[in-house]
């Protein structure tokens, strides 16, 4: 059974929006994804019919809402094959998840002389939290370099990991599309006695995730990139690790006792969910997970691989040396995210011209400045696709690029 992209697209009202009388081509899904009707409806109906505080109040409306909220946690836990839903902490976005990892686990475990290993293809969200903490704690940050074909250069990994306490890396690059060998990287971290923290923002929405098969220690991802609402992210971590970590944000819901001189923490996962959580958003995320699983993550991946293949050939066949795609060639080794340089035209100008054709790509550094510096670009244009993208989106991109040539 293959993904029926026309049927999928009908679920996404925004994709049939017309601008200046012409259809739009949204090619910025690595940034954020659109929302299917089922998610929008789940949120609206919940607010109209069932909205209530969760956890804290005991009347029937509140119990009902708490059940829906906790059911969403269970869905998310199953989606990534977590051992237990106690391992699933809801945050506001993946950035908060990674900051939680750094501030809570990191502040408790890192000292001068220690090292944290990152890679040259990390998003700022997996760099800056470590830099902030390193300033305070004085540990070292080491960087895994890249090969010329946009893979992690693992030749000196064991050396880099020597004495490291954590290895934090992305499972898929948001610029290059490169899919990293997450399972092997986790094993390498463990062999060196480090924990493995996976930034799953770009892979979790696009392919099946199994934290047990990876043998990862933590995983961060965002709802808004996987058909879910904004305002909610996830930190998954091994239960014993979460148990050992000090709290991150303090407030209601995360405590067991508060006296004038001290407080004690609540049980997992509440210990890490201070304050009123994004109740409606978590409900929406639960529906997004149902939606994705209804289609099947392997189908999503297959569709994107086909589209990747189609796009790669369409772009290079038409523009040859005029286009440089920063990323692996083989669709098996990459996601449907294309960063490219076009005939020396500045990416800002490229995206401006494409915009005129309702082709929406992102231009800039994609929150990965160290990587940009490495590939020698100040900015790139990036076209990224998802389960609802189709060949006509690719064709529109190819066609519109021709207009870039005609102006510049």
């Amino acid at each position: 059974m293959t993904l029926d992209v026309a049927a999928v697209r009908r679920e996404f009202a925004l994709l049939s929006r017309m601008v200046a009388g012409k259809p739009i081509h949204y090619l910025d899904s690595a940034n954020t994804s659109h929302k299917p009707e089922c998610v929008i409806n789940a949120m609206s109906s919940f607010m109209r019919e069932s909205y209530s505080p969760i956890g804290r109040s005991s009347y029937s409306l509140a119990t009902e809402a708490s059940d829906v909220y906790e059911a969403a946690r269970t869905k998310v836990a199953k989606f990534i094959n977590a051992r237990s839903s106690r391992e699933v902490v809801f945050t506001k976005n993946a950035t908060e998840s990674l900051n939680l990892a750094a501030q809570s686990w990191g502040r408790a475990n890192l000292q001068p002389g220690d090292a944290v290993v990152l890679t040259h293809m990390e998003h700022h969200a997996n760099i800056v939290p470590w830099q902030m903490l390193a300033k305070e704690k004085g540990f070292e940050i080491r960087w895994v370099p890249l090969t010329s074909d946009f893979q992690l250069d693992l030749s000196s990994l064991d050396q880099l990991l020597r004495g490291a306490k954590a290895f934090a890396f992305t499972s898929m690059s948001n610029v290059l599309g490169t899919i990293n060998p997450t399972r092997e990287l986790c094993a390498a971290a463990h062999a060196a006695g480090a924990i493995a923290i996976v930034d799953g923002c770009q892979s979790v929405p696009h392919m099946a995730t199994d934290v047990q098969q990876w043998n990862a220690d933590m995983l961060a991802f965002s709802s808004h990139k996987m058909c879910g609402p904004t305002g909610v992210g996830v930190l998954w971590a091994r239960e014993d690790l979460l148990d050992s970590m000090p709290p991150f944000l303090g407030g209601g819901g995360m405590i067991s006792e508060v006296r004038l001189d001290d407080f004690t923490c609540a049980e997992l996962p509440h210990k890490f969910e201070a304050g009123t959580p994004p109740i409606v958003e978590v409900v929406g995320l639960g529906t997004a997970v149902d939606f994705l699983q209804g289609i099947g993550m392997n189908e999503v991946r297959r569709h994107e691989m086909e589209l990747t293949n189609y796009a790669y050939h369409a772009l290079t066949a038409r523009y040859g040396n005029d286009i440089t795609i920063h990323g692996p060639v083989n669709p098996e080794m990459r996601g449907a995210t294309f960063s490219f340089a076009f005939r020396g035209v500045h990416p800002h100008d490229v995206s401006q011209v494409l915009d005129q054709h309702n082709v929406y790509v992102r231009a800039g550094h994609h929150c990965a400045k160290p990587l940009m510096r490495l590939i020698g670009a100040n900015a790139t244009a990036r076209a990224s696709m998802y389960l609802y993208s189709n060949e006509s989106d690719v064709d529109a991109l190819v066609e519109a690029l021709d207009d870039v040539s005609s102006i510049f």
Binding site: H348, D349, Q352, V353, A363, G364, N378, I407
Partner: protein
């Protein structure tokens, strides 16, 4: 062909393709750096000021057509002018870009000339930052030259 003629006027593309006064000036000329974090554009403005007059100016760095063309046209507009006049031109330009209000303080005889070609940028708010990058860096340069 798209209807971007408003944005990418011929004079702008000309300055982009053949930037004027691109390069550096050796000390004692001042060098001021500017950047647009959103798109990664970076610019440096070199100023040779004596007796209250901008005797020479150069720019270097990289950026999109709008930021490059704007910087190029800017160098022509300010070279040889008094610092006071340069400030007035910059102010008028920012008024054109709608990021400063016309408070009536810029003398009527201060004209922008070719630079007015950039007014199409106003329809594309994100690009306004590109257009003013060189000018803001210029103003910083004037400030630091004074001290």
């Amino acid at each position: 062909m798209s209807n971007l003629e408003d944005l990418y006027r011929e004079v702008i593309l000309d300055h982009y393709r053949t930037p004027r006064n691109k390069g550096e000036l050796p000390p004692p000329a001042t060098c001021t750096e500017g950047a647009n974090p959103l798109c990664g554009d970076e610019i440096r403005i070199f100023l040779d000021i004596a007796d209250g007059v901008v005797r020479d100016v150069r720019f270097s760095g990289h950026g999109c057509s709008i930021s490059q063309a704007s910087a190029s046209m800017m160098t022509i507009a300010v070279k040889g002018k008094s610092v006071a006049d340069v400030r007035a031109v910059a102010k008028r330009f920012k008024q054109l870009m709608t990021i400063e209000e016309d408070d009536g303080k810029v003398p009527a005889d201060i004209r922008l000339g070719d630079i007015e070609a950039l007014q199409g940028v106003v329809k594309y708010p994100v690009r306004i930052k590109c257009a003013v990058l060189g000018w803001n860096t210029l103003l910083e340069g004037l400030d630091s030259a004074r001290t």
